[in-house]
């Protein structure tokens, strides 16, 4: 048994640790904060918990439409209750990871690790420094919010995502700088809870990685909830004293006051402070350089998850962690980015896999697009969730399904079907005969596929 040390207990790190332990390695995991990393403690999980509360509230407000009479004026959000729901879930999940560590005989050490040599780490915990030697290392140190050069986080007015999810009360107003995934999720959460939200985004649309029509569906819905959205706009000045921000929109300077300013302009890999220079591991601001086995230029050192840059998503971190661990254990394993789903937990949800229509057109030129709107889907109408659509992108020569985008209720669950189709490299002719249960939202996917072949039944 050759000892292996994992740095970081987030999705990449804990999965790598468990995988290596199951391969018979003696594994130690070092985490400076809480197990579960960004995902559990300040990312995926808490935001989704807040969204669930916001959506429950939204649904209850629609009670009458479902034939339920309520004294609506008494329906209020209890912010402490919302926070309690969130922290309970996070605590339980963190406990779950601790249990998994024990079950797999993984030693967990609390502290901040940095390399001394390529076989030795210093682990700092308050005033105590411990040296840990190992045969192999897996760096899974994750990422942290990027800040604006002229507006560092102060935790009082200029806040980052972690702070935004534990505010003392529902803010009356919130400026969100950056209309990407995190920005839109917070816009969705707080706008549903009654906050006056403003989004300032530099690109010409929200969610610059997704197709404009998909992003625009979300934009319209957010606007219906009172969110002010300024695209093609750049922030020029932040004045914490009077909580005022200045931004330029269409050559016009706007001034905006808000209770908080959430900066969500991206996350940067946590490459500093790990002593990478010390051992000669190649890295840049974009992340640690790795090969297809998640191995750095120093063969006994691997890196995975957000710290290598690339796609910063928890499920990608899981996969990369698995690959790194298996390869470190002598298995010939490489990463597979064949079909990575992208999910945005707004209301309506957005989820996609593969190419957007725009990417497909630039890559293939002529493509076929099949679309089906949830307004014609029975299940969506019943749930009062008929906003949105399914869009499938098909390459015309072989009918390969090269992209699927969904905006609408449960999009993040439905996308699993697209992920399987793309992972399996299926073609539309195979999918035409597939039977979707009725009534389900899945029928919309089937109809979109049929439409791409000019055979849609319900549109």
């Amino acid at each position: 048994m050759k000892p292996l040390v994992v740095i970081g207990g987030g999705p990449a790190g804990y999965v790598a640790a468990i995988t290596a332990a199951r391969q018979g390695k003696q594994v130690t995991l070092i985490e400076q904060k809480d197990l579960g990393g960004t995902c559990l403690n300040e990312g995926c999980m808490p935001t989704k918990s807040l969204l669930a509360s916001a959506e429950a509230y939204e649904k209850i407000k629609q009670a009458e439409q479902f034939g339920i009479n309520l004294p609506l004026e008494q329906v209020k959000i209890n912010w402490d209750g919302v926070q309690h729901h969130k922290t309970t879930i996070v605590k339980n999940l963190v406990k779950g990871i601790s249990y998994l560590m024990k079950k797999n005989s993984i030693k967990v050490i609390k502290g901040e690790a940095s390399f001394l040599t390529n076989h030795c780490l210093a682990v700092r915990n308050e005033n105590h420094v411990e040296e840990i030697e190992a045969e192999q290392f897996i760096i899974a140190a994750g990422s942290e919010p990027a800040s604006l050069p002229f507006a560092p986080f102060d935790g009082k007015w200029i806040i980052h995502s972690k702070q935004a999810m534990s505010l003392p009360a529902i803010p009356s107003s919130l400026l969100i700088v950056g209309g990407g995934v995190i920005g839109c999720e917070f816009a969705s959460i707080y706008s549903q809870m009654g906050t006056k939200v403003t989004i300032v985004e530099a690109a010409d649309q929200l969610l610059p990685g997704e197709d404009a029509d998909i992003a625009f569906t979300l934009q319209e819905e957010l606007e219906k909830k009172g969110v002010a959205i300024y695209t093609s706009s750049s922030l020029t000045e932040m004045q914490p004293k009077d909580k005022t921000a200045l931004f330029k929109h269409k050559e016009e300077l706007h001034e905006l006051q808000a209770e908080y300013a959430l900066i969500s302009i991206g996350r940067k890999p946590r490459v500093l402070g790990l002593g990478l220079e010390q051992v000669g591991v190649h890295f840049s601001k974009q992340g640690i350089d790795v090969n297809e086995h998640m191995q750095t230029n120093i063969p006994n050192i691997y890196a995975c998850g957000d710290v290598v840059g690339g796609i910063q998503l928890a499920h990608v971190a899981f996969h990369e962690g698995t690959v790194a661990a298996l390869h470190a254990c002598g298995k010939d394993k490489s990463v597979n980015y064949r079909a990575v789903p992208r999910c945005i937990y707004t209301h309506p949800e957005i989820a996609s896999v593969g190419m957007t229509e725009k990417q497909a057109r630039s890559e293939y030129g002529d493509i076929r697009v099949g679309e089906f709107s949830f307004t014609a889907n029975g299940k969506a109408m019943i749930a009062n969730e008929s906003v949105g659509k399914v869009k499938v992108i098909v390459e015309p020569q072989f009918n390969e399904i090269i992209g699927l985008s969904i905006v609408g209720s449960y999009a993040t669950e439905l996308i699993g079907q697209g992920t399987i189709m793309m992972h399996g490299e299926l073609t539309t002719d195979i999918m035409e005969d597939f039977i979707a249960a009725h009534p389900t939202l899945s029928e919309a996917i089937h109809e979109a596929l049929l439409q791409s072949a000019g055979q849609a039944v319900h549109s």
Binding site: S334, R338, Q397, F398, N399, E400, G424, E425, L426, T427, I430
Partner: protein
């Protein structure tokens, strides 16, 4: 009950057989009579057929590993059928009980559409990868899959296409590509011939000498007697038969040529086991006429006909292909004149026969139209030198030119 398929014994002398190619893999379904493997032993290659319908449950003998006849090479049974202990220990016991003799056929495997389609379907490949491969005429069975369980993915196919494209873009690639497309595996009989011929040249000192024999009289003799012999003995006597007889008689006079070089010793034989090279569609076999020295011309002719027919029908047993002391190879039918035959080891000599030609020739002062037969003798210079070899060839020439001696 699972049927055991064993390595057949193709002749009394057969000690070992080799599976040259498995056409099926474990889990493939087969119908009775489907070709499941090619085997070879000595110079013969044969197809093994499935003894019953079912699936290949287990393969016990890897390609290119020699095993004694009677060894179980695979099991054919019902899908998921468990092999009993009795089954699996049979090879150790060397006395398999439920042995189903493998059915052997030397014919080209029939273009069994169903079975070839089946094996195609068992290739793990994604739908889009298959479509692209088909549109580009790629044989999916040759592509290495990197997906789950070795599934061939689009990327794998694209990699092959990219390699093909980069090969094609290299300057000499036009020819290169054409050659590549025609690449054939060296397997089975081809492999045996390739290695034997190569070893022959590597391990002996070969020299070829040529001479021509005037066979005008011989041909007229043949014309005279052939109908008679056909009527009496039901044998169509050919020029080859006369040549064979001439060789047999000459070998008895020149014992050094009727020999073998084995382990630094020269073995001289009293008997003449005459090897007659027979071209098959996909190779070459050399049936052996044993004790040719004891046969009359007619008996020799009859034996040669039978052996050649056996060879063409794939019914030659291995002991009918072994032990030759000298070989004759005839390329006359192809219009070849002289050539350099390659020794059939461990023999010392091989006679190449070319095509007879009509030539003007002086007989005394008269110019006549004569038929000459080009002869090429390759011999092992380790065993004998040029002069005795020339004498031997001269004797053959004499016999052919005085054909009456061949009838005696």
């Amino acid at each position: 009950m699972a049927a055991e398929v064993v390595m057949p014994k193709l002749g009394m002398a057969m000690k070992e057989g080799t599976v040259s190619t498995w056409n099926k893999k474990v889990g493939d379904s087969v119908s009775k009579g489907d070709m499941i493997a090619s085997i070879n032993s000595e110079k013969i290659e044969m197809e093994i057929e499935a003894p019953q319908d079912g699936v290949i449950l287990d393969i016990l003998v890897q390609e290119d590993v020699g095993v004694p006849p009677g060894t179980i090479i695979c099991y054919v049974g019902k899908p998921n059928e468990q092999l009993t202990e009795q089954n699996s220990s049979a090879n150790e016991l060397q006395a398999p009980k439920n042995e189903v003799a493998a059915t052997i056929s030397l014919e080209e495997p029939p273009a069994n559409a169903a079975s070839s389609k089946k094996s195609k379907e068992t290739v793990l490949i994604s739908p889009i990868a298959r479509k692209i491969a088909e549109s580009e005429n790629l044989n999916v069975e040759t592509i290495k899959g990197t997906g789950p369980k070795g599934r061939i993915t689009k990327a794998d196919v694209e990699k092959v296409l990219a390699e093909r494209a980069s090969e094609a873009s290299r300057p000499p690639a036009e020819i290169d590509k054409a050659i590549k497309k025609e690449t054939l595996p060296v397997a089975g009989m081809r492999k045996v011939i390739a290695s034997r011929m190569h070893n022959s040249l590597l391990n002996s000192a070969q020299l070829t000498i040529n001479m021509k024999a005037d066979v005008t009289d011989l041909l007229s003799l043949q014309r005279e007697i052939k109908d008679l012999i056909q009527q009496r003995h039901k044998v169509k006597i050919s020029l080859t038969d006369f040549i064979a007889r001439a060789v047999v008689l000459s070998l008895q006079e020149h014992k050094q040529m009727n020999s073998a070089y084995i382990d630094n010793e020269i073995h001289l034989y009293n008997h003449v086991h005459l090897g007659m090279a027979v071209a098959l569609e996909n190779g070459l076999v050399v049936p052996v006429v044993q004790h040719a020295e004891k046969m009359s011309l007619v008996e020799l002719a009859a034996e040669i006909k039978t052996r050649a027919a056996d060879a063409r029908q794939g019914q030659l047993s291995t002991d009918r292909m072994q032990g030759s002391t000298f070989t004759i190879t005839n390329l006359g039918a192809y219009g070849v004149e002289y050539f350099t035959p390659v020794l059939n080891p461990p023999e010392t000599g091989i006679l190449g026969v070319g095509a007879t030609e009509d030539v003007p020739m002086y007989k005394g002062d008269n110019l006549q139209r004569r038929n000459v037969l080009p002869l090429s003798l390759t011999f092992d210079h380790r065993v004998l030198d040029g002069a005795p070899a020339a004498n031997f060839l001269g004797t053959i020439k004499q016999y052919l030119e005085q054909p009456i001696l061949l009838l005696l």
